[in-house]
Symmetry: C2
Subunit: 273 residues, 2 copies
């Protein structure tokens, strides 16, 4: 999916919502746990209920790997389901992978050819070799960790270099030379909203994927004010607040309702046509 196509979806749906499919087996509604593939059944219902209000889905792989090969099957089938029924939806594998050489090429193949997602989150620690193979697929995206919302972001991301720049700023500036705003996005935590405007200055055109609105304390208005560019340039992720809005049989309708509320808030934040 190209940036142009993604912008079209955002305009059409008046939404920049990414629904995080963090479908923790332990938290699924009780009636689904009897299914052969509980996470898949859950995801299908969540996807159908929230697709009208969102432009992207983001499964975090930890929740699937925790179930071993069985979890991997449910991830693959979830992606296939979205791909077939909602072909204009961006699918982001939140895998935070990062390896080098032929290993990195294989990861890119696993996600882009075998699983057919549109985007993969990557850790930049080992530098360009980690990212390059992901940039070689037309219409696909590398989503690099830049500044995350966790407390220990201060351990390394927020440490200053000899030139006064913080590590996350160096990651942004350096990696912007590897790809383009058409194949590179950045993860920026919502709790760092005051830093979003700095990041937007460094990367005026790139999409920023912002997790943690809602659950982790960031406010949508603040994120939009500091992070939006003239065409939007934001994907705001919400996981638990949507998918676990109701823990019982009504889970899908509740998720749809919650996604709709977020879409309405987002609609008010978007630049006028």
């Amino acid at each position: 999916m190209s940036a142009q196509q993604l912008y079209e979806q955002i305009r059409r749906k008046k939404s920049f919502l990414c629904v995080g499919l963090d479908s923790d087996m332990q938290k699924l509604p009780a009636h689904l746990r009897r299914e052969r593939y509980p996470m898949l059944a859950f995801n299908r219902a969540i996807v159908d209920a929230t697709a009208p209000y969102s432009v992207a889905f983001k499964p975090n792989l930890a929740f699937y790997e925790a179930c071993g090969a069985d979890g991997w099957v449910q991830l693959e089938e979830t992606v296939r389901y979205i791909r077939l029924r909602y072909p204009h939806m961006l699918i982001i594998a939140d895998a935070k992978r990062g390896d080098i050489g032929n290993t990195s090429r294989l990861y890119a193949e696993a996600f882009f050819k075998k699983m057919e997602v549109d985007a993969v989150t990557l850790s930049p620690y080992m530098g360009r070799d980690t990212v390059q193979p992901f940039l070689e697929y037309a219409g696909k995206w590398a989503v690099l960790l830049a500044l995350t919302s966790n407390p220990s972001a201060s351990d390394f991301e927020l440490t200053a270099g000899a030139d006064g720049k913080m590590l996350y700023e160096r990651v942004l500036e350096t990696s912007m030379r590897w790809g383009t705003p058409d194949n590179t996005m950045y993860v920026v935590g919502a709790t760092q909203a005051r830093m979003l405007s700095d990041i937007r200055r460094i990367a005026p055109e790139h999409f920023l994927l912002v997790p943690g609105v809602g659950e982790q304390g960031g406010s949508l208005e603040e994120v939009a004010k500091n992070g939006m560019n003239s065409r939007c340039g934001l994907l705001v992720n919400s996981s638990r607040a949507i998918i676990f809005a109701d823990g019982g049989e009504n889970f899908a309708a509740a998720a749809g309702q919650k996604a709709r509320e977020m879409q309405e808030q987002m609609s008010a934040c978007l630049p006028a046509e």
Copy 2:
């Protein structure tokens, strides 16, 4: 597996060899590709042939994920096979994971409880939150990327901070406070052998996992000279040079022979009893 147990294995086998199970489906001997689970058949034979000369096995997950759920099954079964037949072998999942909060806890659970490996490689970019859940399992190991052997290690790992320390030095010094030499190891690329002595000064007691001896140009003697501590403190990984020593029906015997040669070289490097 405790550090003490690992040291005992090193002493007993006179080897600090880690065999990398980078069992690339495309490179397997032709006669194995007809099997239902070719990577598993390959791994079993490689494990049996090389176990007498090695103390650890390290599957890199990219090679398994490239085959989807089918690959994951073969990874799980490989681990189970080693666990049952060679209970004193350290198994390192080379996953280079790195996530935060409940996601990181789930990854730790996936690898340590579901799959029962002993160690997982982790990317330190997001700081302590990424690593902490892995340190909470007794007898298990977090193996942090410190200084890798790829060309673009210079993008970030080798950039200097305001205090003059390079990022990989900061990663070492900071993360050494999170755990102990009994639950934390570091990945240090063999092409950086001249830096191994610096790293050994910073972390005198920790195990260093050194990939890239052989394939990527580092020499075993230099690695041992610069990286060994009084009890050894090294695991040197070799993948392709061993597992693909012969591409035909003789692959297992050739791998065993190659592992034996490396063990003999290692024996000569080890400190006297």
